[in-house]
């Protein structure tokens, strides 16, 4: 009970820390932060339910006015753009990533965690973010794919691969810590 609450709160803080420590840009020259990788890690490490709860806590704190999103953005305003579907999709992304980790146990962790991160952080996330963008701007699929999906795609693929390696690193250092496989 205590452990669950504490670890959810700490992973929510970890998502924020990954977006705020400026040196955590993933590849030199490409200005992508590690924040959405934090969302993937919540799923692959904590599992579906705990992962989604950590992300929900993080979003709640963004909404009540803490500048926690990458680049120090926050408050209610960030939920007002046509791209807010990404934020609303984050908990589902973590849930889906966790679910894949929990169900697919037959292969090695880097592979499964990488696929889980991609399935949640790209598959589930874009399934929500792209239709949200189309609804918010009453645009067609072509526009949504160009303006809401394409700019983020290369970074997200890289992040999913890294999330796989990081999850495997954690499993190696603390075999019990992978609650998604507990």
């Amino acid at each position: 009970m205590e452990k669950n609450i504490v670890i959810i709160a700490l992973f929510a803080a970890l998502i924020a820390a990954l977006g705020l420590v400026p040196k955590f840009t993933l590849a030199s020259g490409i200005p992508i932060t590690a924040q959405s990788m934090g969302i993937m890690l919540c799923g692959t490490v904590l599992g579906s339910r705990r992962g989604a709860k950590a992300v929900l806590l993080f979003l709640l704190l963004v909404a009540i006015g803490l500048p926690l999103l990458a680049g120090g953005r926050g408050g209610l305003g960030v939920f007002g753009t046509p791209w807010a579907g990404f934020l609303f999709g984050f908990p589902f992304a973590a849930f889906a990533a966790g679910l894949i980790m929990e169900r697919w146990r037959s292969d090695n962790i880097p592979l499964v965690a990488g696929c889980a991160a991609a399935g949640g952080g790209i598959g589930a996330l874009y399934l929500i973010a792209v239709p949200y963008y189309m609804m918010a701007t009453s645009s067609g699929l072509d526009q949504a794919l160009f303006t809401a999906m394409l700019p983020f795609m290369p970074g997200d693929i890289l992040k999913a691969i890294l999330a796989g390696y990081i999850t495997a690193g954690l499993a190696k250092a603390r075999p019990d810590s992978l609650l998604s496989r507990a």
């Binding site: 970890l14 006015g65 939920f79």
Partner: protein
């Protein structure tokens, strides 16, 4: 603790957050339903007027908070310029700026403790679904306590990486940082239990 609440006092600071959030919700839905460009422009002018009311300093602060929106405005504008249908693009841009500006206004004029109190009050009816307000309050407190700790430890990890390598730290530092979070969680959970733990729900 850092927050986005404006230090410049405005009349809006005195309105309790509950009504402000409610009005924001209504205004956002209305903005979404308006399809006329003149009405949208008028709405944006009205919102900017709301920012001007408490004075120039407040207005500038508001503009600074709106600034991160420009890449989004740029993308929408470029797409619509490219497809030669500029009017719907302008409506989307105006609507987006008004909606974000209004939401920022609520954030800038609400004290963090008031908003946390509002959230705890709003979630109380969800008790029966397992969402206990006390646990939510504890989670928020722990988050706010541990975020600076994690940021500091992340900074230290980056520094120690730098002192040993000529290459930038990058993603490899995330593993030890997450490990620190996992270990801290163990210690803190144990400490909570040692002090009586979290009471099981009595309902």
């Amino acid at each position: 603790m850092f927050s986005l609440t404006s230090p410049v006092k405005s009349p809006y600071h005195n309105v309790p957050p509950g009504p402000k959030f409610f009005l924001l919700m209504i205004a956002s839905i209305t903005l979404f339903l308006i399809g006329n460009i003149y009405l949208q422009a008028a709405a944006l002018a009205f919102v900017l007027g709301l920012y001007l009311l408490p004075g120039g300093t407040f207005f500038k602060e508001g503009l600074r908070m709106l600034w991160p929106l420009w890449p989004f405005v740029g993308i929408v504008f470029l797409w619509h310029a490219f497809t030669h249908d500029i009017l719907p693009g302008l409506i989307i841009i105006l609507r987006m700026i008004s909606a974000v500006a209004l939401a920022n206004l609520v954030t800038m004029t609400s004290q963090l403790d008031e908003v946390i109190a509002l959230v705890t009050r709003v979630v109380t009816p969800f008790r029966r679904f397992g969402l206990r307000p006390q646990i939510l309050a504890l989670s928020i407190a722990m988050f706010i306590r541990f975020l600076p700790v994690l940021i500091e430890k992340g900074g230290l990890l980056v520094q120690s990486w730098r002192s040993r390598s000529t290459r930038p730290a990058g993603w490899r530092v995330v593993v030890p940082l997450a490990l620190l979070a996992l270990d801290d969680a163990d210690t803190v959970a144990e400490a909570l239990r040692a002090r009586g733990g979290i009471e099981p729900d009595k309902i």
